[in-house]
Each structure stands twice: as structure tokens, then as C-alpha cells.
């Protein structure tokens, strides 16, 4: 037996997965509360003890971890125009697994600076201007950041003509310079920045968060958890040289506070009469909805779909919904018991709403335009209509009683005909929470990680758009 230990330091739970690399099987999983406030090693030891009770005393060839403990990787990003460089910066940070605490556009204000000072980020990503374009945004912001009393790593990834001035202004910050996130108009170039974010995460963040205190682990924390999940999704879609992937897919992770959506798909228009607008979209795209979650962010769901929709979807009366929601607001840790039918139904509706909203925000849109040459369509964002696979992960979906009904809300519907979501799909579920672990394992053993994902994901069935197309 050659064993590997994969750890996910989550915000609530430290999850462990032990894999036998010879038989390519999961030999055990265990979890314990994350103890980020004191010494994260305590929770780690508890989880490891529990794991060893299952597996016996095995030795590990290597131990690798991902982490979203202690708030995850907290980033602030700045750009010039909201739909252009600021959007490119946002996509870069989210794809690297970060949590964006603030997004600034145009010039920073005094209030912005106060906010940065009172709650400084782990990394600040500064962009603005195409190469050879606007320099005043980056240069002005750099001069302003220099006045702060706090210091944090800054990545400069905007107009290359602005870099010299920024570097001079920010000389006592840890600075890294990357190629522009939007070198020419509309062109997205975020991979170099994402590699840099990861480097910085390893160098600065892991130490700062006490994660390296974990004695047996030291610095083998390879990436933020969302980045591990994205990497597992990409591996599953694309495959390796020797092991085929399953093709384009969409992933959904409904959490208590946020809902993440992943798409590994080109999303190009299928019809010649479609004109694409806006910034390029990344092939492996992650979006995070900070206002959509089934415990801490229920208000966001209800305010968008409406209370009657929740009542309708759950089959509860409006009054029951309201009273249950207020119970939830009082006790966020509430988990529906097997016998608690009403709460289970409410959870079903909240998860359905979360999936609906988050996938609509992730997917591209199509608008009709009548021109002198007839009807044309204008596409913004990715066309995911032909994506045929949906992967569900995250506690709320893994424990859901009717996951296929929830996943149905990720599909194309006549209610939102312009939202380019999949028209039918096979649904798979990450029942054993292995995606993040496999994303970490893939750093060393891509083929093994892929084969384990393919085996461990449970196929739940097929869903079809309820509309005649």
C-alpha cells in the first residue's frame, strides 16, 4: 500500500481523505472541527486520529492540503471600467479560489482607503487600462495606497505603461508584476495572475494563518479550497494524456453563506447569426454569489425569487415559510432532522432558488436584435446550452432528498429564455466530498485522481428542460 493523505481545512470542518495510490481507492475519510482560532493542528490531530481508527496505523507517502479556513484567501481587486478591467480582475481572483472582499472601479476614494486600512486583504490585485492605454487609474491608485499604514502583497496586472510609476510609489509593499489581465480591448489574460496568486498564497497566506503550525504538514498546503475544486472539475472535463475526461460540464456548490458555480466549457455561440459582446470568458470559470446561501444568505434568495416562489416550491404555506425562515435566522446551524418534514421542504426550496439564481448569474445571455439584415442575436457571456453534465457538491446538495429536482433549476427554462443554461444534463453528485481532495491529489497524480473522481461521483440520473425547444 502506498498511501496519500489529502486534507481540506474548511471554514467549519477539517476533512481528510486517505487514498491508496496502488489500488487507487479511498481507504478512509474523517472530519473534525477546524480550530483556526487557536492552533489549527488540534483539529487536524483529532481528524487524523478518527481516520486512523478506520484505516489502522498507516504511514503516508505524502500529505497535501487545501484550505479555506480563517476566511479563506481574502482579496481586494481594482480596475477601471466595471465591465472591462475590473471584471477581468474579478474573474482572475475568483478563478484562483479567492474570496473578493471589495471590488473597486475607477479611482480609489478616501473612504475606500479607510475600508482597506480597517480590514486589509491578503492580496490586492491592481489592474486598469489596456497596454498603452489608460495610466492614470493605476498610477493614481498606487499613490493613494502608498499613504496607508498597513502593508499587504500587491499584484500589478494592468497597463504595462503604468507599472514603473506604480512600482516606485509602492516600493515598501511586497510587489509582483504580471502581464495585463486585459492587454488589448476585450481580450482576457488571467492565467499569469492566477499563478501568481497561488504563489503568494503559499508564500504569505499559509504562514500568516497559522496553517503551517500543523507540524506534520508544514508548507504542503497547495491551494485555496475553491481552486482545488475548480482544478478537479477541469481534470474531470478534460482528462489527461492517458485517461479521457467526460467533456464539458457545469458544477454547483450550494453552501450556507455562498453559492459557487463552475463551468468548464468554451461557451462559444453555436449560430452564425450570433454576435458576441463584452469581455472574453475563461474556459474554466468560477463565480461566487456572496448573497446566495441556504443558511447565512437566505435573504438574498428570497429577495430575488420572492416569498411566494419559496412557498410554491416547498409546498408549505406562506405563513409556515416565514416562521421557518425566522427560525433559521436565529439558529444558522439548524440541520433538518429526518422527521422534520417542513424544514426539509424549506431547505429544498432554498437550495432550488440558490441553484436557479447562481446559475443564471453564471451563464451568458442572449438578446434578440432586429436589424436591417433581419433578426440577429447578441450573446454576452458563455453559452452553456449544449453542456450535458452537471456536478453537484456542497453539504446542502449532498444531503438533499430530491437532488434531481433541485438540479432541474440549473437548466434552461422558458421563464428566462435568454439565460443560456444547459438544455438537458446527466447529474452527478460528489457524495463523499472528494472533489477538493482530488484537486489536491491531481497536483502529483493526475491520472489516479481522475480515475477516483470518475468512480466516486454518483450518477443520479438525467434531467431535461421542461420546455419544448
Amino acid at each position: 500500500m502506498r498511501c496519500a493523505l489529502l486534507i481540506d481545512f474548511g471554514s467549519t470542518f477539517t476533512k481528510m481523505t486517505a487514498v491508496d495510490l496502488m489500488s487507487e481507492k479511498i481507504v478512509g475519510t474523517a472530519s473534525a472541527f477546524t480550530t483556526a482560532d487557536s492552533d489549527i493542528g488540534i483539529g487536524f490531530d483529532v481528524a487524523l486520529d478518527r481516520l486512523r481508527q478506520m484505516t489502522g496505523d498507516i504511514t503516508f507517502e505524502f500529505k497535501s492540503a487545501c484550505s479555506s479556513a480563517a476566511g479563506g484567501l481574502r482579496m481586494m481587486v481594482s480596475g477601471l471600467v466595471p465591465e472591462l478591467t475590473a471584471e477581468a480582475a474579478r474573474l482572475a481572483a475568483l478563478g484562483a479560489g479567492a474570496r473578493i472582499t471589495r471590488l473597486f472601479t475607477h479611482a480609489l476614494t478616501r473612504r475606500d482607503l479607510q475600508d482597506i486600512e480597517s480590514d486589509p486583504p491578503d492580496i490586492f490585485l491592481m489592474t486598469g487600462g489596456t497596454d498603452g492605454g489608460n495610466t492614470t487609474c493605476m498610477e493614481g491608485n498606487a499613490e493613494k495606497l502608498r499613504t496607508l499604514s498597513v502593508r499587504f502583497p500587491i499584484i500589478l496586472a494592468g497597463n504595462r505603461q503604468a507599472i514603473d510609476v506604480c512600482e516606485d510609489a509602492l516600493e515598501d509593499f511586497p510587489i509582483t508584476v504580471c502581464p495585463n489581465v486585459m492587454p488589448t480591448f476585450g481580450v482576457l489574460n488571467i492565467e499569469p495572475v492566477q499563478r501568481e496568486i497561488r504563489e503568494l498564497f503559499l508564500k504569505h497566506i499559509v504562514n500568516a494563518r497559522g496553517l503551517s503550525q500543523t507540524r506534520e504538514l508544514l508548507s504542503d498546503i497547495v491551494m485555496p479550497t475553491p481552486s482545488a475544486i475548480l482544478s478537479a472539475m477541469k481534470l474531470l472535463a478534460d482528462g489527461t494524456k492517458t485517461e479521457p475526461g467526460i467533456g464539458e460540464l457545469m458544477g454547483i456548490d450550494v453552501g450556507g453563506a455562498t453559492t459557487d458555480v463552475y463551468s468548464i466549457a468554451r461557451g462559444e455561440p453555436v449560430d452564425i447569426k450570433v454576435i458576441c459582446k463584452g469581455l472574453d470568458e475563461p474556459y474554466a470559470k468560477r463565480t461566487v454569489e456572496g448573497d446566495i446561501g441556504v443558511r447565512y444568505s437566505t435573504v438574498g434568495i428570497v429577495s430575488e425569487v420572492g416569498q411566494p416562489w419559496i412557498s410554491d416550491c416547498s409546498g408549505l404555506t406562506l405563513e409556515d415559510c416565514v416562521s421557518l425562515m425566522s427560525e433559521l435566522a436565529d439558529d444558522k446551524s439548524k440541520v433538518p432532522l429526518a422527521c422534520d418534514d417542513a424544514m426539509t421542504r424549506l431547505d429544498h426550496a432554498l437550495a432550488s432558488g440558490a441553484v436557479d439564481i447562481a446559475t443564471r448569474r453564471h451563464a451568458g445571455t442572449l438578446e434578440e436584435a432586429f436589424t436591417t439584415s433581419g433578426l440577429v442575436y447578441v450573446q454576452t457571456g458563455k453559452d452553456l446550452c449544449s453542456v450535458r453534465q452537471i456536478i453537484l457538491t456542497g453539504g446542502s446538495l449532498i444531503h438533499a432528498r430530491a437532488p434531481l429536482d433541485i438540479a432541474q433549476h440549473a437548466l434552461y427554462t422558458a421563464r428566462y429564455p435568454m439565460s443560456l443554461r444547459p438544455k438537458q444534463a446527466s447529474v452527478f453528485r460528489d457524495d463523499c466530498y472528494i472533489l477538493s481532495a482530488m484537486g489536491v491529489l491531481a497536483e502529483r497524480e493526475k491520472d489516479i485522481a481522475l480515475r477516483i473522481i470518475k468512480r466516486e461521483l454518483v450518477k443520479l440520473g438525467e434531467i431535461f428542460s421542461d420546455d419544448d425547444l
Binding site: E83, G129, G132, N134, F185, I275, F370, T372, V376
Partner: protein
């Protein structure tokens, strides 16, 4: 190709207009004349012109329209540019910019009143626009 100058142009076809060929010809002609050109293609909104001009720090916006609805599409463009901090930026328009056959003197005046610096009638050769661009942007 002429020697490159450091002047940046943002060009495109405004509104619901899908005339894709002419704007490519203009892009080619402007580039040959030494300009740095960002071509936004067809069906470009006012906001897209403005966003592109901000990010690229453009020296001029050149709007093309061929389908007759240019007047409607261009209305409020200058005001939006002022709001976005692009006040004073050179703004051109040209093509079949109004409905039907109208006296171009009237058309030109209407577009001048809307804040356009220069207005070109149908059939203007690219050389003429290039001549004025160089003049207005003080390119040798």
C-alpha cells in the same frame, strides 16, 4: 504603412447595424495611416465605445453608421462621454447617418449640435477622414 503615430482611435458601427465590411476597411486604412486602432466591430452601444475609450485612453472615437438610424443611436453620446470623464474627446461620425436623402448641410449641423466634432457624408473616402484626424490630433 506610414510611420506609427502615438494616437489611439476607438472605432465601431453603432446601434443595431450589422454592416461588418466597411468598418474593417476603415480599420485597415487607419492602421496603414499609422494610428493605433481598437475596432469594436458591429452593433456597438454608446457604453461600449465609452468603456473602450476609457481603458485604451483613446484620442478619438470614430463612429460609423450605414443603416439610416444613426441619428437616434448617436443621441446623447456626447453627454454620456462628459459623464464618463471623457469631456473634450474628439468625436467623429460618418456614413448613411440619417433616414433618406437629406440636405447634408442640415444633417451636419444637427450632428454638430449633438456634440460631434466632424460629420462625414456617405461615400467619404477614408483618406479624407485620415486627413482630418491628423489635423485635429496634430499628427505631423
Amino acid at each position: 504603412m506610414e510611420q506609427r503615430n502615438d494616437k489611439k482611435l476607438v472605432i465601431g458601427v453603432i446601434g443595431a447595424d450589422v454592416h461588418a465590411v466597411g468598418i474593417r476597411i476603415l480599420e485597415y486604412a487607419f492602421k496603414e495611416a499609422g494610428f493605433d486602432v481598437t475596432n469594436l466591430g458591429v452593433m456597438v452601444s454608446q457604453e461600449e465605445f465609452i468603456g473602450a475609450a476609457l481603458e485604451t485612453a483613446a484620442d478619438a472615437i470614430v463612429i460609423s453608421s450605414l443603416y439610416g438610424h444613426g441619428e437616434l443611436d448617436c443621441r446623447g453620446m456626447r453627454d454620456k462621454m462628459d459623464e464618463a470623464g471623457l469631456d473634450g474627446l474628439l468625436l467623429y461620425v460618418g456614413g448613411n447617418i440619417v433616414v433618406g436623402k437629406q440636405d447634408f448641410v442640415d444633417v451636419e449641423k444637427r450632428f454638430h449640435d449633438m456634440g460631434f466634432d466632424r460629420v462625414f457624408p456617405p461615400g467619404t473616402p477614408p483618406e479624407e477622414t485620415i486627413y482630418y484626424l491628423k489635423k485635429d490630433l496634430e499628427v505631423e
